[in-house]
């Protein structure tokens, strides 16, 4: 067993300030206050507040006296917990064994089974650190063969930056000897009592009789000591990945420009990518919700033609959406949801590096980007429909979901198979019209001027015809038309028709281009 422990000393402040950018925060003293409502005290503060001379534990009123430009926010435990849990979910991409220790603001990962996959423990730690950093958290890292020892080493990093990793269980007692007892997550009374007895480090407890220790301080102390050294089991409960993905960010300020949203969106999409990696899934839709305050919201639905997981792709789609229409109002909160997943199919990489094939974007990604800016219906394909009426002989196809499209093709194939007799006559009919159909068709037939000599950019001369196309009683859209091929003085070849029952009106239906 090999454990990576992450300790978040600044969790409360990171939850609020992450993503807002270092330069902004350096000039903004920000504190989180906690305690009774009558006399709130400072719980956590950022570096700007610390530079202004504030200290944790100060009364908020006193702090305001010291620093006039102070931004003070109440501590919300829910937010901290959910942030920690979401980070743990994202870290589940590195190992399925992730535990969250809410009491001590920590996450512990068991990585003995997966570290080879990520190229060794050093690389894996690098990946974990990078992931945590993109989410805007400051983490201290400790690595040890037991989770308790890893957590202690992580917390110890605050004081001794060098002691971070211990690979061998037999060395654990020695490495932990100098760890202060205050780093254990024990009640204050216990730590104070131990301190008054002159016991401040772990090595001080090694010499004491176990029985007496247990009698005075209960099971917790002894158990934790044994667990840290690997002498007793330390079962942890691993997190269970949720069914849906949700991530939200609350901003310290109102945001006016979409460009300022991008860093937040990027972090959230990276978070989504981590979640999808952990689930071995990909998604086709992500919904971005922008809250403008006073219950006004904007919802942006991003769709991908092929299941996608990469943050960069989603970010590009969102950029295209914003390029078309900027923010309607200032934004105070932003969230991203995804709830429909499908298995992820990895792309195959080309063996030859730097070849053109490697630079190529998949066509579905391209269509996604075009559709994101121009509208979902703007990008389409056409297909032949088995119908004799010209306007029903083609069909628009918008592939938003390839799975559905593929099943549609299967269905089509089956229907062709089942009605083979009908198909052969339909094919024969198609052959008869080969080359007699215009390459451009008008969505709606255009009425032409002139009943005797129809006019379209000049008088039309009939070349061939008529071709009678009629009936369609089965879906209530019958036609009764005589089609002619006609030409105008500009040599444009048109496909025109008139209703043979009661029309003298000519219509233009297509152009032979």
């Amino acid at each position: 067993m090999f454990w990576i422990a992450l300790h978040f000393p600044q969790l409360a402040i990171d939850c609020v300030s992450r993503g807002h950018g270092e330069t902004l925060l350096s000039s903004l003293p920000l504190v989180i206050h906690a305690g009774p409502a009558q006399r709130p005290t400072l719980y956590a503060l950022n570096s700007a507040a610390r530079e202004a001379g504030l200290k944790p534990g100060m009364a908020l009123a006193a702090a305001r006296g010291v620093c006039g430009t102070l931004t003070a926010l109440p501590r919300t435990l829910d937010k901290e917990e959910s942030a920690l849990r979401r980070l743990a979910i994202q870290l589940a991409q590195f190992t399925p064994s992730v535990t969250v220790d809410q009491a001590s603001h920590g996450i512990v990962l068991e990585v003995s089974t997966t570290m080879t996959l990520f190229g060794g423990i050093t690389q894996l730690i690098g990946e974990v650190r990078r992931t945590v950093r993109t989410q805007g958290f400051q983490a201290l890292v400790g690595i040890a063969p037991t989770p308790m020892a890893a957590q202690l080493l992580a917390r110890l990093t605050q004081y001794q930056p060098s002691t971070r990793m211990c690979r061998d269980v037999s060395q654990l007692s020695e490495r932990l000897a100098d760890v202060p007892l205050a780093l254990f997550n024990w009640p204050h009374e216990t730590i104070n009592t131990l301190a008054t007895l002159g016991l401040t480090r772990i090595k001080d407890l090694y010499q004491l009789p176990r029985h007496g220790l247990q009698q005075r301080f209960g099971d917790t102390v002894l158990n934790d000591l044994d667990r840290a050294r690997g002498l007793a089991g330390d079962p942890r409960q691993y997190i269970v990945l949720p069914e849906n993905f949700t991530s939200e960010r609350e901003f310290l300020f109102e945001i006016h420009e979409s460009e300022r949203l991008m860093p937040f969106a990027e972090a959230m999409f990276v978070e989504m990518e981590g979640f999808l990696r952990a689930r071995g899934a990909a998604t086709q839709t992500a919904v971005v919700t922008l809250k403008h305050g006073r219950n006004a919201t904007t919802q942006i639905t991003l769709g991908a033609r092929e299941p996608a997981r990469h943050a960069s792709h989603w970010l590009r789609l969102l950029r295209e959406k914003f390029a078309r229409a900027d923010l309607a109002a200032t934004v105070v909160e932003m969230s991203i949801q995804a709830d429909q997943f499908c298995p992820y199919l990895a792309e195959t990489n080309n063996l030859l590096r730097n070849s053109l094939a490697n630079k190529q974007e998949s066509v579905s990604n391209l269509m996604d980007r075009l559709a994101a800016r121009l509208g979902e219906k703007a990008v389409y394909q056409v297909e032949v429909n088995n119908d004799h009426r010209p306007e029903f002989a083609w069909r628009k196809r918008i592939d938003t979901n390839p799975v559905a499209a593929a099943s549609g093709q299967i269905r089509q194939r089956q229907s062709r198979h089942y009605s083979s007799a009908a198909t052969s006559s339909a094919t024969a009919a198609r052959r008869a019209t080969v080359g007699r159909r215009p390459s451009w068709i008008l969505r709606e037939p255009r009425a032409l001027v002139g009943s005797d000599v129809p006019q379209y950019h000049g008088p039309l001369t009939l070349l061939t015809g008529p071709e009678r196309i009629e009936t369609g009683w089965w879906d209530g859209k019958p036609v009764a038309r005589d089609y002619f091929v006609a030409q105008n003085p500009q040599q444009e070849v048109c496909w025109i028709y008139r209703d043979y029952r009661f029309g003298r009106q000519w219509y233009l239906h297509g152009l032979f281009a």
Binding site: N354, L356, Q360, S362, V363, N365, L366, M367, R369, L370, R373, L374, G375, K377, A378, V379, Y380, Q381, V382, V384, W394, Q409, I410, R413, R416, A429, R430, V434, G435, R436, R437, P438, S439, W440, I441, L442, S451, V453, L462, G465, P466, R468, I469, E470, T471, D482, V485, Q490, Q491, E492, V493, C494, W495, R498, Y500, R501, G510, L511, F512, A513
Partner: protein, 303 residues
């Protein structure tokens, strides 16, 4: 022809963006192939086609090349595409076409519709014309540069800044794709970075007259005539429809064919009586079995 040979070596030899842009894509018309360097449309390049109006055969000029890019040489093949075998080569994107491409006709021309994408920029999100043109060019540039498609056709009727065209050409070179830009002939006088500019006019016999205003490596202003029988889309449309009851045609009738018995017509409906049909079609009344004379002489073909 020695000079031509030298040009060809230069053209074949240079590589752009890792793709040898040597041999061109056959246009499908030998006269045109001979007039172009590389014997066809050159890959990774911008070609401009200047043409007024729609329906004189401008699409027929491109369809054989697209069909060849897609690797389907024989037209009129009706086979069922299965899911797995949709090939990736020859993907084609049409941006802002003037009308909807008609699927049956394209299939007849040998185009695989699974590999044809259409981008419509006339949506309501872009209210102004300028915004639509900008959208179309943006889409074209993105498609070309992505390398995901092999040819892009873009239609525009507006004047375009030279920088936009340059960007389009650069994108075509980066992505290794052909870009056909279709514009009205008024822009023939404007300068353009396109390596090939062809002006289309209709010829006397209903074919196409190609005036190559600019081409790479060869002197400009070359005329190429494509007869209408070379343009598959136009020829069959002009071919008279073979009619079944042609035997009993009275001599006094106009040279229109009687109603073509369409294979779609339900068999239980008897064909409309000839005289009645004529009366209906041309708005004439059938009185006492006498045919009124045809009003419009210009309706009659081949006069």
């Amino acid at each position: 022809m020695a000079a031509l040979g030298v040009f060809r070596i230069g053209d074949d030899g240079h590589t752009l963006g890792g793709v040898a842009s040597g041999k061109g894509i056959k246009t499908g018309f030998t006269q045109l192939d001979d007039a172009l360097i590389g014997h066809g449309w050159s890959k990774a390049d911008l070609a401009e086609i200047l043409c007024d109006g729609c329906g004189m055969g401008e699409l027929s000029l491109l369809l054989p090349a697209i069909a060849q890019l897609q690797g389907r040489h024989q037209p009129h093949r009706h086979h069922v595409q299965t899911i797995k075998t949709i090939p990736t080569a020859g993907r084609c994107i049409w941006i802002a076409p003037p009308y909807v491409p008609y699927a049956p006709a394209l299939e007849d021309a040998g185009i695989d519709l699974n590999r044809l994408f259409i981008v419509d920029t006339g949506n309501k999100d872009a209210p102004t014309k300028d915004a639509r043109v900008e959208d179309a060019f943006w889409a074209a540039e993105q498609s070309l540069a992505s390398g995901a498609v092999e040819c892009v056709c873009i239609w525009t009727a507006s004047a375009i800044a030279n920088t936009s065209l340059r960007r389009l050409k650069h994108a075509a070179v980066t992505g290794g794709a052909i870009c056909w830009l279709m514009r009205p002939t008024v822009f023939a006088q404007h300068a353009s970075p396109a390596s090939l500019r062809i002006k289309l006019t209709a010829s006397e016999d209903g074919g196409l007259m190609l005036n190559i205003l600019k081409r790479r490596g060869l002197p400009p202003n070359k005329l190429v005539e494509l007869r209408h029988r070379d343009l598959p889309c136009l020829t069959s449309a002009r071919r008279p429809i073979t009619t079944k009851p042609a035997t009993s045609r009275p001599t006094s009738l106009p040279p229109h064919s009687p109603p073509y018995l369409s294979p779609y017509s339900p068999p239980h409906l008897p064909p409309t009586p000839l005289r009645e049909w004529l009366g209906r079609t041309f708005g004439q009344t059938v009185i006492n079995g006498h045919d009124a004379p045809v009003r419009s002489r210009s309706m009659a073909p081949d006069r």
